[in-house]
Each structure stands twice: as C-alpha cells, then as structure tokens.
Symmetry: D3
Amino acid sequence: MSNQIEEFNAYRSKMNDKLLADNNKIVKRIFNLDTNAFAAGALDVKTKELLGLVASAVLRCDDCVKYHLESSYNEGVSKVEVMETLSIATLVGGTIVIPHLRRAYEYWEELENQQG
Amino acid sequence: MSNQIEEFNAYRSKMNDKLLADNNKIVKRIFNLDTNAFAAGALDVKTKELLGLVASAVLRCDDCVKYHLESSYNEGVSKVEVMETLSIATLVGGTIVIPHLRRAYEYWEELENQQG
Amino acid sequence: MSNQIEEFNAYRSKMNDKLLADNNKIVKRIFNLDTNAFAAGALDVKTKELLGLVASAVLRCDDCVKYHLESSYNEGVSKVEVMETLSIATLVGGTIVIPHLRRAYEYWEELENQQG
Amino acid sequence: MSNQIEEFNAYRSKMNDKLLADNNKIVKRIFNLDTNAFAAGALDVKTKELLGLVASAVLRCDDCVKYHLESSYNEGVSKVEVMETLSIATLVGGTIVIPHLRRAYEYWEELENQQG
Amino acid sequence: MSNQIEEFNAYRSKMNDKLLADNNKIVKRIFNLDTNAFAAGALDVKTKELLGLVASAVLRCDDCVKYHLESSYNEGVSKVEVMETLSIATLVGGTIVIPHLRRAYEYWEELENQQG
Amino acid sequence: MSNQIEEFNAYRSKMNDKLLADNNKIVKRIFNLDTNAFAAGALDVKTKELLGLVASAVLRCDDCVKYHLESSYNEGVSKVEVMETLSIATLVGGTIVIPHLRRAYEYWEELENQQG
C-alpha cells in the first residue's frame, strides 16, 4: 500500500479501537449505524458509497472522503464515476470544495497505483 | 398539483427567469452547469438525482431538497430509495438534518398525492 | 400554549410519527439514540440540554433550538443561563447566529408566558 | 416601504431592543462590534458592506443578506455591483446558494421599488 | 508536555501575540470577548468549557476542540464527561464529526499522560 | 519564495493540471468560471479579491484563503486592508475563524518577506 493510504488506515483503526473500547454507548451505536446504513438495501452498496462520497465532499471532510473513495474503489467504481460524483459535489458545494477535490484525486490515484 | 409543490415551483421559475434576464454571466453559466451536471453520463440520471438529494440534505438546503425530490420522483425513484438516501444524509449530517427530513417527507407525500 | 409553541410541537409530532411508521431502520435508530444521548449520565440532564442548545445554535438549526429551549425550560433552566449559553453560541458561531438568537429569545418568552 | 422590507426591519428592531435590554454583556458587545466593524477604515463603507454581503450569502443567512443589501443600497451600491458580489458568493459557496440568491434578488427589487 | 500539546500551544501563543500586536481593534475585542464569555457567571466555568467544546466539535474546528479540551482538563472535567459531551456532538453533527472525535480522543490522552 | 508559499503553489498547480487533464467537463468549466468571476467588471479586481478572501475565511477554507491572500498581495492590497477584511470574517463567522486567522496572518507575513 502507498504511504498515504496505509497511514490513514492505520491511524483510523487505532483510534476507532480506542473509541470503541472507551465504552460510550452513543459513540458505539453511531459506529454500528454507520456499518448498517451503507449495507445493500433498496439501493446497492455501490450507489450508497457514492452517496457517502458526495455527502463527505460537500461537507468537506477529507477523512470521510478518503474512506468512501476506498470503499468505492473496492466496490469496483470507475474513475469516471468517481469524477462525476465529485463534480456534482463541487458544483453543489462550490469552489471551496476544490482543495478537497485535489486531495481526493491524489488519493484515488494512490488507490489505483497500490499493489493489492 | 398540491399547494406546496405549486408554490415552490412558481416562485422558483419566476425568480430564475429574473436572474437569467439580469444577464450576469457567472450566474447564467452556473445555472447552465447545473443542467449539465445532472445529465446522464457514466452514472445514470436517477443516481445523479440521489447524489444531488443527499448533498442538498446534508447541506440543509430545503429548496434544493425539494427540487431533487421532484426530479427523483419524475425519474421513478421509489419512496424506499428516497428514505435510504435521506437516512444516509441524517447519519452523515447528524440530527440537525431531522427538521429537513420532516419537511422532505411531507413534500414527497405531496408528490405522491398530486394529480398529474 | 402559545401559537408558536403549539404549532411547532404539532408539526414535529405529526411528522415524527410518520417517519417512525415508515420503518427505515437507520432513521428509527437515530431517533432512539437522540433520546438516549440526552438522558442523565456523568453529566446531568440540564447540562446536556444546554449542550444540545449551544450545538443547535451554532449550527443554526431553529427547530433544534426550539426543541432544546423547551426541554431546558422544563428542566428549570433560568433565562440567564439560556442567555449565557446563547451568547457563547453567538461568539463561537459569529454574528450569523444573531437572527437565530432573535427567534430563540422570542420562543423563550413564549415558553415563559404560556399557561401550563 | 414594501411589506417585506418593513416586516424584516420591524421584527429585527423589536427583537434587537429586547436582546439589548436583557443585559447579557457578551451579546451587547457583539452588537457593538458589529457597528464598528463596518465603519469606514482603510476600506470604505461600501466595500465593507459588500464584504458583509458576500460573507452572509456564502453562509446562507437570509436575514444577514437582507441587512447588508439594505445598507449597500443606502450606500449607493448599484445592482450590477450587487450581482457581481452575489455571483462570487454563488460560485464560491455553490448552487446551494441559489435559493438565497433568488430571495436576495427579490429583496433588492423591493428596495429599488420602495418610496423613500 | 507531549509534543502535540506543546506544539499547539506554542504556535497558538506566537500567532495570537502577533495578531494582538497588529492592532486591529475588532480582532482585539473579539479576543477579549472570548476570555469574558467563558468566565464564571450563572453557569460555572466547567459547564461553559463543555459548551465551548461541543460547539467547537460540531463546527469541526480541531484547534478550538484542543483549546477547550485543555481548559476542560484544567477545570477537572473527567474523561467520561468529555466523552458524553463529544458523543452529543457526534450525534447532533453527524458522522463527519468522527475524524475530529478521533483526534480529540488522542489529544485528551496526551493531556492525561503529560507530566504537569 | 518561502517554503510554505512554494509548497502550496506547487501542489496546487500539479493537482489542478491533473484535474484539468482528466477531462471532466463540469470540473473544467467550474475552473474556468473561477477565472472569470474575479476579473474586473463593475467591481475592480482588488475588491473582488477581498470578496473572495472574506468568503473563503468564513467558510474556513485555508487553501482558498491562501490563494486569495496571494492574489490580493499581487494586486497591491495593504496589510491593514487584509486585516479589516479578515476581522469582518472573524466577526461574521465567529471565533472558530480564529485558527484560520492565525494561519492567514502567517501566510501574509511570508508573502511580505519573500523575494519576488
């Protein structure tokens, strides 16, 4: 894995473990809901990941964008589909989304370049 | 059409006409982009409308939600699909999205109840 | 009850009932979490209501502000305590909070003036 | 004055008076700062009003937009200048600003149509 | 002090000194208000710090979160109280708050581990 | 050029080139609009740059702030004018803008210290 992907996932895992071990019920249930909300339902997983991606992008949350880029990548979403999703985010959310678009594009490139 | 749908569309049309007639190039091009971004591409129109809906919901823009609810309705999106989309918005955007969820639900009901 | 309080609560109840009857699991669990998060724990209910109030105010969610104003009122929070909470919201969130402060103040007055 | 302008100003004045009479020091000082920040300095009042307008528009605060539209109008700002300012807001803040742009345009028209 | 705490405070102090030396009246008064708003009043300092913390968390301002975590720590707030406060922030502000929750949790651990 | 300015511009250029080469029409047109919106019109370039700066600051987009600080600097905007603009941002957007104000101030200093 590339450095950026590895670093992001390592820190995310380490801190999520600590948060879940901390035993705050509300936090634990929100984490649990997060897993449920993106599971297949009337909408398939791929569509839901793109919904998570566009929501993360307009809210300008880089870590959330990275997470959904990786899940989207694993679901077989193509680069063109990711770019259409992010272009909607940039139009709806405005040019302040552009710095996040730059970082998202770089992260996607790393996902494509990594050795599984 | 129900009152709420009719009122929203009438005001929206009236003011959009004025804005476009005003001849500010940037505003005109943004309106134009808006049409383009939601046209079929690698992603189909229905998926793009759901992307527009979730983005509007997490950014808590009632008018944008109404607009994408109506387009989604016209694309044949089902109520369950709308609710899965809005539930992701509520999870990602937090309980402050709930008041908008209430109004979105009401608007969707009116879309279903209206006589075409 | 004053008109504004009654109207807010009637619409809120009606739509919450519909949302819960709709049977979207994520939405139902988020509603359930909302009840849990504001229950007494290490922090008492009054403090938690003020936390909910300040969060709602800086995020500029009028309906959320109304809801927490009413719960705070029922918990015996004084007007001075509400104003200190809202003044922190206005300082942290900026002068764009002021229109919400005006509406919050009016709602609090109605809470004080209503006949139980 | 038109209905909308009169209503906005009447409610704003009434509630501001109550807020200032309430004697919360932080709120009073923030109101006072607001007056100071838009006074002439290295930048003239007109430029500062446009800064207040664009900030209000990207933060999607209708009441703040109305306030700065009226001050801008009184400073002799032209409609073209207002539209250039709001077009920057729409580009930077995204299409979610458009509903606020519609209402801002309507309010500006009322300002132009009112009998001084 | 740990690296992270020391770095944050050093940069914050250095830049605050420069900002105050720059002599912009509005900035100076806002800094001054910030001190006043969190002083004991009808609400005690501890409660006000938690209000500042939850406001900072839902607005997703890492530096503001760090500042209020440190003040809360110095006021004797317990980890359980911090977590209840941050869990309300995550519920109200949504899962986009989670990356900030991870960083807040890490910072709190450093506060607990540092040698006074 | 100082390290910070150089780094920011190098990364920005590299990623913008990639984004434009990617051939997503919406993204390309938004980039194009960005150039147009800040060109001289009824308002001069300097005023528009300050509008872009205040909008970026209240939306708390560090990269956007840096970009408009540099353009403002190149347009001959003075430090006092920048500080008046940023003080309005801090008042309107609240104390959560302060961390961005610290970074903006540092970046401006680097702009002043660099050898053209």
